[in-house]
Symmetry: C2
Subunit: 453 residues, 2 copies
Amino acid sequence: MTVPTKILLEESELPTHWYNIIPDLPSPPPPVLHPGTLEPVGPDDLAPLFPMDLILQEVAQDSYIEIPEPIREIYRLWRPTPLYRAHRLEKSIDTPARIYYKYEGASPAGSHKPNTAVAQAYYNALAGVRKLTTETGAGQWGSALALACRMFGLECEVWQVAASFDQKPYRGSMMRTWGATVHSSPSEMTNAGRAILAQDPDSTGSLGIAISEAVEVAATNDDVNYSLGSVLNHVLLHQTVIGQEATVQLNKVGETPDVIIGCTGGGSNFSGLSFPFLREKLAGNINPVIRAVEPAACPSLTKGEYRYDFGDTIGMTPLIKMHTLGHSFVPDPIHAGGLRYHGMSPLVSHLVDSGLMEAAAIGQVECFEAAMQFAQTEGIIPAPEPSHAIAGALREANQCRESGEEKVILIALCGHGHFDMAAYDAYLAGDLHDYEYPSEAIESALAQVPVVA
Amino acid sequence: MTVPTKILLEESELPTHWYNIIPDLPSPPPPVLHPGTLEPVGPDDLAPLFPMDLILQEVAQDSYIEIPEPIREIYRLWRPTPLYRAHRLEKSIDTPARIYYKYEGASPAGSHKPNTAVAQAYYNALAGVRKLTTETGAGQWGSALALACRMFGLECEVWQVAASFDQKPYRGSMMRTWGATVHSSPSEMTNAGRAILAQDPDSTGSLGIAISEAVEVAATNDDVNYSLGSVLNHVLLHQTVIGQEATVQLNKVGETPDVIIGCTGGGSNFSGLSFPFLREKLAGNINPVIRAVEPAACPSLTKGEYRYDFGDTIGMTPLIKMHTLGHSFVPDPIHAGGLRYHGMSPLVSHLVDSGLMEAAAIGQVECFEAAMQFAQTEGIIPAPEPSHAIAGALREANQCRESGEEKVILIALCGHGHFDMAAYDAYLAGDLHDYEYPSEAIESALAQVPVVA
């Protein structure tokens, strides 16, 4: 069968439901705990931050949850997204492997993030919320939420990690074009930001710090809610439209994936692609390797500890059992700003811990070499985040060249790099380097993690 | 019939031929003249700059020219492109008009330009050429040619208009990522550039100057050819894949356009969309208004003279009969860098002169207001160039609200604005303004145009 370059779906094939993997798992992930009582948090604990519809999705036991039509109306501005066969990339490295990439950069914000942003804005608007606050790293999440808030008439206020705020100024312009307000984090506007700046006036920030700032503003204002771009169950749930489409698309060309690879910061795009395939794996229908690739400079899954920790830096959030480098760990300013997070989605951590998924860490130089190879063959210039998935795929594909195996490799190309060109400039100028493995910083941060029996 | 948000085509529906409108016209456009002899130029005159395959396309009399498979292979990386129904934009302005936009921003370079860049790189590679030189304004053309050269193993050297080189630094990064070399124009590297800088060391450049530089290097090196991103017949020919797809897509939803609108700098995206519809108009099957929208700061079709002039600033090119503001006219540095050209495609000029098409000029503030309205409803952030087409469409759609007419408006959304966010920053800061109509500068430039009987 001749495989076309792009495998497309009609709008009528847009998923009607999100897929919730939790009821299909051999065991549920450990509960999220209240930091004071160490009891599992209930809906009331989350109500200051999230609308009840999302809280119920967070703990849902249904396998499929219907996507409301107003959300599908927005999804149709870019969904279903294309699945590409990387014919030219394969040829350039002379591999017998067949590489497919699901491209989420076709969304107006340029990444997979609007899949959940639109859902979160919708439910908050339905609940009468006036404004959403959030954090953003590279700016992909912030711009997605800005877009989504504009679509449903909400205000949007974004704290962007200082390192990325400086590296990628035009992400902020994009957010403002869609009507959002953007601050560099740590900022002087919150207690959390002021506390960090008091310790380190030159702080380059981190996702954990920016979360603290956004949560603080939401928690202290009645008509303001908070929105998170990854980590939580309901976020991963919304992203499953990616993998549901990809299963249909691969079926259309008669393929079954042997390896599924995505990059992980909080884990949402990786989960979005892989969970619908993991469902088939749990049912015994297919048996792909499912691999998360994280930055060597922020290796929570491969070098962190699987234990309860705070989701943010200051310690305002509930305690989450996840692979963590310690909530006070501040990663080096690698260009993949969206992956600079000390923790991980508790669901991904649970799945890696139980052996249903695996993880690898790759340094940014190898990732950018892979991104260049990709851009020069497939045309699309990837964001630094999915360059980790591409690097992981090239490792597999190069092994296939040696072994002669014709593996089917499926990757999540979760966004384009149009707002990350300074990173490519650095690579082309020879100024990009790998950071040393931050063992002492991690050790010191892990020492500050609360001990939960 | 319910119209979906996106009307998609399968790869099997990718056009197999380009459409050449010349044999279908009531009269052919006036010939291009040799500046010395004032005789029509022949293939030999063009051979120092272009490969013979493209020269033959420039003067072709066939209605359809087959697209070679290696070009279609690259086209399939993003083509066919989607046709959108602007449901949300329509609703936001309460118009009974139905607005469709053909979106070319899905290409890896983010615009329609690769449609011809890929073809030109292919034919040059086939002819054994080592390197292509070119000019670029906003950078859309330069990045498209960089991509195309990379795909066919050619070197690529780009002169970018200084105003855009400074405003949009990351377009250069994109070109370099695909392997090209980029210079700010006017540069010290060419006689043409040095001559301009001697007169005006602070020159912000123009497409005409950058063309002079790129042509000079190609003309003085045996294994180097020149590539033009608009204006010429063969460029417009390659762009007709846009309109051919759009005719099929509108047919699928049972629509016939009443008004077709595109922005014009050199005229290639406007022609690419409209020529296949003009073919039907000439055959008496449909009767749409076909309208070019140009910047009020560079109004060649609406304020220029229809006469022979040079295509570049220095006067190295053949003489072309076109609407011109004078080859020495340097437009104000509006953000739509791709539209800052003193002349026009001779084919578009001929069609406007013969009444088959019409033209309007719109200032950049109205264009950015339209672009904001578009971004906040449809999500996609348009490049400044197609914001002119959007502004033209909004004028029509607002008139329909008054009159109650249900016109079908088709526009060319030829690229996204991800590399133009500084322009949006200026708009949001209130720093964007319209330039005064440059009547004296145009008068003075027109006085320098050679008189051809």
